[in-house]
Amino acid sequence: MASVNSRKRKHLAKTIIIVFLLIVAVLVVFPYTLMLLTSFRSTTEILRHSERIWPINWTVAGYIKVFTRAPFFKWFRNSVIITGSVTLAVLFTSTITGFIFAKYQFKYKNTLFFIILASMMVPSQVTMVPSFLIVNWLGLYNKLTALIIPALVSSFGIFLCKQFIEDIPDSLCESAKIDGAADFTIYFRIILPQIRPAIGALAVFTFLGTWNDYLGPLIMLSEVERMTLPLALSFFNSQHSTDINATMSAATLVMLPVTIVFIAFQNQFIKGVSLTGIK
């Protein structure tokens, strides 16, 4: 009798938990659904019938406006170029530097690694002013490279890779060396395949951080054609008002690529994030 009761209670608790989790999931998706629906309503309809959520007259005018009034494809291209180059570069620089700090003995190793660690603690928001001045001084202002070159090295990435590479037994590298493998070959053939999970995690973080960066492009780029996608949303704000329909269409379009990438690689994303928490 008691066991039946407790089984019932357990069942009830499970149902409550599932319902709760579902409600949270709905709350997460809801604003994006609103965005999508609003992007198909004209601005006048939004203002006149604010009580409605579902469009009365479906319109793609907002999307047409985004594509015709704004260089949307150029922004997309800029975002891809910046994010792609930064992600690839960071993967390379982090793994190879992590490899060196994990497996090599050399002078000043500890001092150099301390510099990496210390620079990890300096967030870019703190150094936005001097970073801007340095980029400007180097003549990179208003060039896509202004967002690429300073981001080629990530101290977090180096730190993460070093942690993982340290776990690889030294004997693996040593024996390859005895077999006459060059250092770069060891890195490429032995180290990289072993730390695939770390590479995945780092790729996820770098991709998200760069693709979604708002402050960097806001400060470093000036011309409209050089802008990246996150800046696109303020494009339809005039001095005194906002074109809500065009803004929501732009928001949907900005959201689209990253959502597709996320859904395609959702497991890698979740695994990558979990990994950094454990390490």
Partner: protein, 443 residues
């Protein structure tokens, strides 16, 4: 797994390569034209960049000006580019710093001129303009472009945020009301028509709450009573009986009478009062004449049918108001093509070009001779009531007007929504002290 990751990376490399390739080609184009301009073999083709802020009607006019100019000057190409207003000032600042990533000509708001003129980042205005300035231009239009006897910008307009009242003709007709001739009549209409639903206005009877208009309405009210907001030593005086009275009135219009609310200053409300007027949710809105073009361009409304723009009554019995330097054109000191840039500006300032531009932007002329220009009056009959008062405008003062207006707006919001100050006068005294420290004594 391994091959999958590899193929993803490969795909990314290819994608970037392709995209960068397209970009490279586009970049090459501009490089080539730059090459020919510096190399200058046969025909010297000069390219100048002209940056302005986004506004549909205005941008159309900027582009037309550039095209007209290029027809007359085939050796000069003018590239226009428009920026969201909110980001524009910092873009001007950072691009001027960069010396290479910026424009040759900027459309610069006069209020920002106070900061930019003394830096040496802007080119001095050539003498031939200066002669005209002295003969023909109104003092407030030049004020903030001047530094140490030299000028750094050419004013496009007389900026005026008082004296004009946007009225919803349709609603006035429906309710059988006639336009107000005195301040009291204006308040009476506002009393009859304002409707509120919680924090939201259903109908704004009389709206004056915007970034610019609180300051200008307040200062012109006290000035029209014969007072000044300056002491003789040049410091601010916000605590005269007239200043306190005027602020008390404005606060009561929001708090007690509910003619309008603070949304346009505090955000979240979806726009400024004149948009509500164009959507038939406001009766009267105090605003500069530039609002007209927005009603026509953005809302497709007709002046004289849907709305009118009339002379706003004065609070006191004197016509007096402050004016800050409005939009003007400046040339970057680092520009490689200053001559071409000034040539373009000279072209813009010719009455036959400037008058249509002023019309498109709903702006008032910076110079007396255009006021007397019959073409202008014919094109813009609705601003005629304003033209006569321009000569009463006084330069607002040589300080950063954004800091000035923001402080006044913050104090206004505080007085309307909190009990931080026992009386209005206490609040104004605090404001006076703050602004004296920041704008006058700190210098």
């Amino acid at each position: 797994m391994k091959s999958r990751i590899f193929s993803i990376i490969l795909a990314m490399v290819v994608l970037i390569g392709v995209l960068a390739g397209c970009g490279g080609r586009a970049g090459d184009n501009t490089d080539k034209s730059a090459d020919t301009s510096s190399g200058g073999d046969k025909k010297e083709k000069v390219e100048i960049k002209y940056w302005a802020h986004q506004n549909e009607g205005w941008n159309k006019s900027h582009k037309e000006l550039a095209e007209k100019f290029m027809k007359v000057n085939p050796d000069i190409t003018v590239l226009t580019e428009f920026f969201p207003y909110d980001d524009f000032e910092s873009k001007i600042q950072t691009s001027l710093m960069s010396k290479t990533g910026g424009a040759d000509i900027y459309e610069l708001w006069g209020g920002w001129g106070v900061d930019f003129s003394p830096t040496g980042a802007l080119a001095k205005v050539p003498d031939k303009f200066v002669e005209e300035f002295k003969k023909d231009y109104f003092a407030p239009t030049l004020g903030s472009f001047e530094h140490d006897g030299a000028y750094y910008g050419v004013p496009l307009e007389f900026n005026i945020e008082v004296g004009g009242l946007l009225v919803n003709k349709k609603l006035f007709d429906e309710k059988g009301l006639s336009y107000p001739k005195t301040w009291d009549e204006m308040l009476k209409i506002a009393d009859q028509t304002s409707v509120k639903d919680g924090a939201v206005m259903v109908m704004r009877g009389f709206d004056f709450v915007t970034y610019d208009n609180v300051t200008y309405t307040w200062l012109s009210m006290l000035m029209s009573k014969g007072a000044s907001y300056f002491n003789e030593d040049g410091t601010f005086n916000f605590t005269s009986p007239e200043a306190v009275d005027a602020m008390t009135q404005l606060v009561s219009y929001v708090v007690d009478k509910g003619y309008t609310n603070l949304d346009a200053l505090t955000g979240g409300g979806g726009g400024e009062g004149h948009y509500f007027l164009y959507e038939d949710q406001a009766m009267m809105v105090a605003r500069g004449p530039w609002v007209i073009s927005e009603g026509i361009e953005m809302y497709g409304l007709q002046q004289g049918v849907d709305f009118d723009y009339i002379a706003m009554p004065w609070y006191g019995d004197k016509i007096a108001f402050p004016a800050e330097t409005g939009w003007g054109l400046v040339v970057a000191e680092s520009s490689q093509n200053k001559d071409a840039a000034w040539k373009f500006i000279e072209f813009v300032m010719e009455p036959e070009n400037l008058v249509p531009h002023l019309q498109m932007c709903g702006m008032l002329p910076p110079r007396q001779s255009i006021i007397d220009n019959t073409d202008y009056k014919e094109r813009m009959p609705h601003v005629v009531p304003l033209l006569d008062i321009l000569k009463h405008g006084e330069y607002i003062g040589h300080f950063n007007t954004d800091v000035f207006k923001e402080a006044i707006n913050n104090m206004f919001v505080e007085l309307c929504t909190t009990n931080n100050y026992p009386t209005i006068k206490d609040g104004l005294a605090a404001l006076e002290e703050k602004l004296n420290n920041e704008l006058i004594l700190g210098k």
